[in-house]
Symmetry: C2
Subunit: 287 residues, 2 copies
């Protein structure tokens, strides 16, 4: 496994791979790798000649009051996990090389950033789309892998690649969970023991929504109220949002019909966690 820090060297590797007609699978990450990332890396490993993992904590996707400096950076541990998973290249560029002092260009996917997390984190998804666009141009992958846990990110990246005619294929992979249902996240390490126990309530609330929908409850407001009540039984939990939305435009639905995404953001103590499930109304037992 090689660790490449230079943008030019990364590009050179990919150009040679392309000339040799080899495929590149790409997993962009901010490091602090967990089994969620590893499931993406394993898919990339199965389906490609080369696997590139980028580790880059992207400053422009953090708001002024957000946790950029607090974001964990266990690079050695990450590198060891990548090596074991059969990664060929870790691309680990320097922030100053990615964003020079005169940096000016941004990629924006309109409308899709208005809902869910985007509503509460202005500029976040512009930062995400921009860095992913840059990384795609440097790494030139055939396929890039993202997790469904960041559902809005997944939708925005998919739309960006489609709209801008990028030649990369985007694959969105299922959420990986702990035994109690907690979605894996680099932020979980901030939870103390009590908070860790309470954090399982996110997945329980999502399952409650699923059960209610399958039992014929089609009114999002009523479902959200019950989810909120359930989450509020945990002392450390504070709901930021719960949304039942259209899969494509992420806009909250007025009545449930077909596939919807149930998504939420909840503070557990000071740690903000997100999770979601997709529920297909048609599969439910409708009374």
């Amino acid at each position: 496994m090689r660790i490449i820090k230079s943008i030019g060297q990364m590009r050179e590797f990919s150009k040679v791979a392309r000339l040799e007609n080899k495929t590149i699978g790409f997993v962009p990450t901010m490091g602090a790798l967990h089994d969620g990332h590893l499931s993406l890396i394993r898919s990339a490993r199965r389906e490609n000649d080369f696997v590139v993992v980028s580790i880059f904590v992207n400053p422009i996707q953090f708001g002024p009051k957000e946790d950029f400096r607090k974001y964990p950076c266990p690079f050695k541990k990450d590198a060891s996990l990548c090596r074991k998973a059969g990664v060929d290249i870790i691309f680990h560029p320097k922030p100053n090389d990615m964003y020079g002092p005169d940096y000016k260009t941004y990629v924006e996917v309109m409308d899709l950033d208005k809902y869910l997390c985007g509503r509460l984190r202005p500029g976040h998804f512009r930062g995400v789309a921009t860095v992913v666009g840059k990384l795609f141009n440097i790494v030139m992958p055939d396929t890039a892998y993202f997790g469904q846990k960041d559902a809005q990110q997944a939708r925005i990246i998919t739309k960006m690649a489609e709209d801008l005619n990028m030649s990369v294929k985007i694959k969105i992979m299922p959420i990986v969970r702990e035994k109690d249902g907690l979605a894996l996240s680099s932020r979980n390490i901030h939870l103390n023991q009590d908070e860790r126990q309470d954090a399982a309530i996110l997945f329980q609330a999502l399952n409650l929504a699923k059960v209610l929908i399958k039992n014929g409850q089609l009114n999002p407001g009523k479902i959200i109220r019950q989810m909120r009540n359930l989450i509020n039984t945990k002392k450390t939990a504070s709901v930021q949002y719960i949304s039942i939305a259209d899969l494509k435009d992420l806009k909250p639905v007025k009545r449930i019909k077909g596939k919807v995404i149930v998504a939420l953001a909840v503070f557990i103590g000071k740690t903000r966690l997100i999770d979601n499930i997709i529920v297909n109304r048609k599969l439910g037992n409708v009374p």
Copy 2:
């Protein structure tokens, strides 16, 4: 020469060319080709294995009150000029294929669109950057050629390619002029005989600025006033803006020092024309 309308087919051509290690020179145009475009095509022809010219009148770079529908589209004549110039591929996509009904993604180069034409045409350069980004992703050129006549466009595209780590090299080629100095433009065909004669005043005004600077006039305000007076001697002419600006950030300079761009937009009758020159203060005869 092949005419390709399908985005997929264009991409396929470029993928094969890349696998064969052939270089692609790319000239993006809105058609209505003139000798300015042909000088770009000739450079592309000299320097690459394949030459791709795109002909696409990009709807998203026209404002609501601008001349999208009036923009000339002499496709057969353009195709004939391309064939004679040794072009390999004309890429001529359909507007609905480039921008589906659910299109949402835009590329924006901040700040550089605040000055010159950008100040008067909100959204124009966002439309230009977006379509050029899309075309680069489809055509995957090694080198793309743009004219210095659209100086702000040239600067914005160069900055976009740099910021987004695009692997394409941007070449900016000199302005091609008629004998009387009028810069070639697809819009020149809208000029009647009197207007055509008056239109030479743009270049004369730029030359006046050059002479004044070389004679030691370093105050942009004074130069612009003299340029304006000269242009106003023509009945059909009406100045939209004149700016003496920094080459890199396009911001008007307060005092002339080193290289500057002198740029202007002038209505001749109802036709809006632009032109510019770069003047190097150091090369002048400073008294």
